[in-house]
Amino acid sequence: MVEAVCGACCQEKEDSFKAPQRAAMMPDLRAIKADWNFIMKNGDGWRDHLAVALNSIQDSIGRFSPSGKMGISGLLLIVFIAIFAPFVTFYEPSAISGMSLEPPGPEHILGTDELGMDIWSQICYGARMSLLIGLAVAMISGLGGGFLGLMAGYMGGNWDRALLRTIDITMALPSFPLLIVIAAFLNPSILNVMLVLVFLSWAKPARVVRSQALAMKKQQYIISARLHGAGPVYIIRRHIMPEALPLIFVSILNISSYAIVAESGLAFLGLGDPTSKSWGMMLHYATSFRSIYFTPYWQWWLMPPLIALIFLLLCLAFIGRDMERIVDPRLRSRGGQ
């Protein structure tokens, strides 16, 4: 991960190109409109994009290392459990279905918590929460930040400068203390937590994609496409987007684990949504239980959410690392890795 960030920064210094050149690149509104009409009329349909995307996904799965494949299967397993939670559990997660703190047994596979709720059900339904938060936050800030970075990088000018400043400041903010204080003041709802996470995590993809767009627009084939009359929307969609999408995808993976960690950390501190049964909330309730470590309860109350979280994060990390390697072949040669 360290390398990827560095790789992005190194391109950054190329952004000081000369004024006349920039003027030549300033988008012309009419050109954008004509361009848009051209795309609308002549197809360039989403189906082609989809086919290309599917192909490249198929392609990249073939290039995954064993640990990456393990990560994918693990993630698929968790996704399966989350989607089919009602079918793989026997009780509602917040139904009192047994005695309090029953050890694992035939009635309750993983036992019950202090209120007599089934722990296996809580794990399965909790997977939904973690995946939802991870996915939603990562999609919004990955795609949103990526889009901002793309536009700013390609258009240049004042917008770009303003965006760069905003990115710098956002990245300087100490995220965890900020997260805690905002979560403490707002209602502890999942939506608020997600909004704050988006606010704190959009800057990285924006920066990575921006420098990619910046580097790309000086490539020969982009310049020649522009000289042949292609407008900015066409060039971005046709040439820059396909190159930037994998980068965005990598940031989506990274942000999703960041969001999952942040949500469970907040929940662990007692700032989670008290009505939700997330893995972080389970950790919170278990560790808040008086002298749990002097009882055997931690074995089936604290361990399952702990293992589940670590497993999910490791899966995401394995996939992310492989994706980074596949997306950026330079990483393989750099630093002798």
């Binding site: 360290v2 390398e3 920064c9 190194c10 950054e12 210094k13 400043r165 710098d168 400041i169 300087a172 903010l173 100490p174 995220s175 965890f176 203390p177 900020l178 805690i180 204080v181 905002i182 403490a184 003041f185 684990s257 960690v261 469970s264 950390g265 662990f268 501190l269 007692g270 700032l271 950790l283 560790t287 470590y293 931690w298 604290l302 361990m303 702990l306 979280l309 670590i310 994060l313 490791l314 995401l316 990390a317 690392r321 750099r334 630093g335 002798g336 890795q337």
Partner: protein, 332 residues
């Protein structure tokens, strides 16, 4: 790292600090409700003292809530600058005092973890680079990279369960043995170190991988340089080549990394302290969250944010001094 000039960096951090102050000022004001409006009593026969309109006005002007918002904000900034962070509702002491009594414990584990992970990371990185692509290198790489993906508080829980609960080799909670009488100052130091070791190890494990990879990869790059070949050609011996010529040049990026690490460790410490019930600022934060002690939450946030921003700012300044290449915009 890119060359933006010292002024740009200062501007960036000053704006970030200002944003945090703005947030701290406006968050409580955005909450619903009115502190002077009492709608219900806690118990049935509690006497509710309903404020008359006059009293209400008096209180509002007493707390300065009738002044324009920018004046209130300026007042807030001035009181923060004077170190006045308000009064803790729960502990009934000034916020600054509550934080100050806990701060040494957090500083102890954060600085201890910084030292531990730096030393261990550099040594392991050196070892790994010297035995590059050997079995030890591969095992270290794979193992440490997986470690890095586990966030500190989950790792802390695993370590706590393994070493304190299962093996009973370390204490479960606290920073000193309660009611202990030390016959010798060394006993006290031993006791404190004994209690601090697990939180410190947890925190340093999360940062170890970064230092390790950085040292290893920089060393691998440095070893291809001409001056290394020259040193070897002089025949000074492998050990001197590595320790004097290679390692010294590889340490520059490590210095920066260590600075940024302190910021990340501060964030991690909040959670890790709660795992080990360690009486630092982090566990103070949790109890203030549970008690909804808003001034204290804000104060802790401000102190943490300020120290993180200062640490990162100093790193950027020091780094530009150490490596003149960064200010001219050349690749680091």
């Amino acid at each position: 790292m890119k060359g933006r000039g010292t002024k740009g960096v200062a501007f960036q951090y000053a704006t970030a600090l200002f944003l945090i102050l703005v947030l701290n000022f406006f968050l409580p004001r955005m909450m619903p409700g009115d502190p002077f409006l009492i709608l219900s009593a806690d118990s049935e026969n509690e006497v509710i003292s309903v404020l008359t309109e006059e009293q209400r006005q008096y209180f509002i002007s007493y707390y300065g809530l009738d002044r324009p918002i920018y004046e209130q904000f300026a007042g807030y900034i001035f009181s923060v600058a004077r170190g006045d962070l308000g009064e803790s509702i729960y502990y009934k002491v000034p916020v600054w005092e509550a934080i100050w009594t806990r701060l040494p414990w957090t500083a102890l584990i954060v600085l201890g973890a910084t030292l531990m992970s730096t030393v261990a990371g550099v040594l392991l990185g050196l070892y790994s680079a010297r035995h590059r692509d050997g079995p030890a290198d591969k095992i270290l790489m794979a193992g440490l990279i997986s470690f890095a993906e586990i966030p500190s508080f989950l790792l802390g829980l695993v370590i706590l369960l393994a070493f304190s609960v299962k093996l009973k080799a370390f204490p479960l909670a606290g920073a000193i043995t309660p009611f202990a009488h030390y016959s010798h100052p060394l006993d006290a130091i031993w006791d404190i170190g004994y209690h601090a070791s697990l939180p410190m190890i947890t925190l340093s494990l999360t940062q170890l991988t970064g230092i390790f990879l950085l040292t290893r990869n920089t060393l691998v790059t440095v070893m291809t340089r001409d001056y290394i070949r020259t040193a070897r050609a002089k025949g000074i011996g492998e050990r001197l080549v590595w320790n004097r010529h290679a390692l010294r040049n590889a340490l520059l990026p490590v210095v920066t990394r260590v600075g940024f690490m302190i910021g990340m460790l501060m964030g991690g410490a909040v959670l890790v302290e709660n795992v080990f019930s360690y009486p630092g600022v982090g566990s103070l934060l949790r109890s203030s969250v549970i008690a909804r002690d808003y001034p204290l939450i804000q104060g802790i946030m401000l102190v943490m944010a300020f120290s993180i921003l200062t640490a990162n700012y100093l790193v950027e300044i020091v780094y530009e001094r150490l490596d003149p290449r960064t200010s001219s915009g050349e690749a680091a």
